[in-house]
């Protein structure tokens, strides 16, 4: 067996699985406690400059948008984003000067982020969606890598730290991706309890994997419910409490995206985001929607409003399957 292709000469986030395990042993608690806090406290308490962050889903669907706005409001610097779908998040984080590196994924939307990459304001590494999801699964499973039969033959290999080895069972070239153990995971959920037990209804990208694989996990939730509810229905638990560090009650926390079966996407606000092409437009958006409001509640009051929230809730008429 031999290494057929070493990784490209690129930076990649990697942590020895034993070091991550030691963090889990020493810094994560299996003792239930009240972890409810404000978004501001969660972000200032658990995220620091230079951290590697991941989040589940996107700015259009169940993304942790209230938390991301808080990151921007606090002016965090030099973040490295693991971005499965990064729709508007990367644009905002880059435009606000918070992000310096992005592992993608899908680097949509709009021209702002594309231009920022061309200008070298943010560095991008290519892992593909499947590659990133697999890296996070490896991080959750406590193994240094996982194998896959994609990425092979494509130019993504040269701009990622994936390797190619000869499979000792078949002799086939097989791609290996290194485990990813992010510093912080942001996960917006339908329901959580104060200890951190959480439920997502519908599909997810890698909510449980990311919660297991990350050093710190901030859950924001549409609803806070009693801990006992989770024990009555264990099949519906997406994330158990002992993976979670902070619980933020954030109704409309996915806004302007949709929260399946709770409220619909605000296309007008999304168009506002899509329209950002220049730094001036970015600055205006950030000033109005993030810097110019005190917190998520203030944002909802000043920039969204009860009538609009009511309307977005009204439009969420499909609840079949979301329980």
């Amino acid at each position: 067996m031999s290494v057929i292709r070493r990784e490209g000469p690129v930076e990649y986030r990697f942590e020895h699985p034993d070091d991550f395990r030691a963090h889990v042993r020493d810094r994560k608690s299996r003792m239930p406690s009240d972890k409810i806090c404000r978004a501001g406290e969660a972000v200032s308490g658990f995220l620091k400059d230079g951290d590697y962050i991941v989040y589940d889903f996107s700015s259009l669907t169940r993304g942790p948008q209230a938390l991301i706005r808080e990151v921007i409001r606090q002016g965090k610097k030099d973040l490295w984003i693991g971005a499965e779908f990064t729709l508007h998040e990367s644009a905002l984080l880059t435009g606000a000067g918070c992000a310096s590196r992005i592992d993608v994924g899908f680097l949509g939307y709009g021209n702002y982020i594309g231009q920022a990459v061309c200008d070298g304001r943010v560095k991008v590494y290519e892992w593909t969606n499947g590659g990133l999801a697999l890296r996070i699964l490896a991080g959750a499973r406590g193994v240094p890598f996982l194998p896959t039969r994609d990425l092979l033959g494509s130019d993504n290999l040269a701009v990622s730290a994936a390797k190619v080895i000869e499979d000792p069972y078949t002799g086939l070239p097989v791609c290996l991706v290194p485990a990813l153990n992010p510093d912080v995971a942001f996960i917006h959920v339908h329901q959580a309890d104060p200890h951190g037990n959480a439920r997502i209804f519908g599909t997810n990208l890698f909510a449980l994997e990311a919660a297991m694989a990350s050093h710190r996990v901030i859950v924001s939730a549409e609803e806070i419910i009693e801990p006992d509810e989770f024990r009555k229905d264990p099949m519906r638990t997406t994330i158990p409490y002992f993976l979670v560090d902070a619980v933020v009650h954030a109704p409309f926390g996915a806004y302007p995206g949709a929260m399946p079966a709770r409220y619909e996407i605000d296309l007008e606000h999304v168009d506002l985001l899509n329209g950002i092409r220049t730094d001036e437009q970015m600055k205006k958006y950030l000033d109005e929607n993030i810097y110019g409001v005190a917190d998520h509640d203030d944002f909802l009051d000043k920039r969204v409003g009860a009538a609009r929230m009511r309307e977005l809730r009204r439009r969420a008429t499909i609840i079949e399957g979301y329980r």
């Binding site: 889903f57 259009l60 594309g114 033959g153």
Partner: protein, 268 residues
Amino acid sequence: MTRTVEFTDTEFMIAQGARLMEDGKSIFVGWGIPQIVAILAQKLYVPNVVQLFEFGAVGPQSVLPFVRGTMGGPQNTYRSLQWLNMNWAFAYSASGYMDYGMLGALQVDPYGNINSTYLGGTFEKPERRFAGSGGGNQVASHCWRTIVIIKHEGRRFVPKVEFITSPGYLTGPGAREKAGLPRDTGPYRVVTSKALFGFDEETREMTLLSVLRGMKPEDVVKDMAFRPRIAESVAEIPPPTDDELRLLRNEIDPSRIIIRGERMTATA
């Protein structure tokens, strides 16, 4: 009695994509136009097609009108057979359960390699940067037959893509297998807004199979930045049918944001 049909190039591209679907087969659906193709096909031709979305929606039957942007909302994942997550979605394709994959592309080359990452410059310093792979690399690697759907603009058809985001036949026959990609997979068709291409069984080169009724092969290939092979007998593709257009215009995309495009006509 013949009559002339008016339609957009996008409508034609979608309609002929939909006609390629097989009933009772599965398709890994990329973001955007492939979603519309799959919906049209399912409504008109292949009620038992199993769609797969990369974030874990297995067998969805989207509600109409189509909701743009997010694939993950309740409208697009409606009436799925199963809701899982991304690692499971790619497990289905990696272990051979996905008959087809359908992807958009920025550029495609004679071997069906797809670039959706950047144009001009270098990877580190591109002139224009786009979304990149998403799950496209997995779809093009795992699915038995990959269908590329792309506007027929000459500059999109290049002798060699600047960056292989999602693998076609790479450098030609045997190259996928040598790279370790699953056996017997690869690009199957390239659906454009004017024509349909396949890939030569032996050389793996893109080959013009058919053109929109009324067009000549030369009309189609003249702008392309490489000259594709041309099948011995190039078939004609009928324009969108009344049913296809009615469904697209009235039910799937009544605001006509997606189906708009260059106006075309052909004989029904």
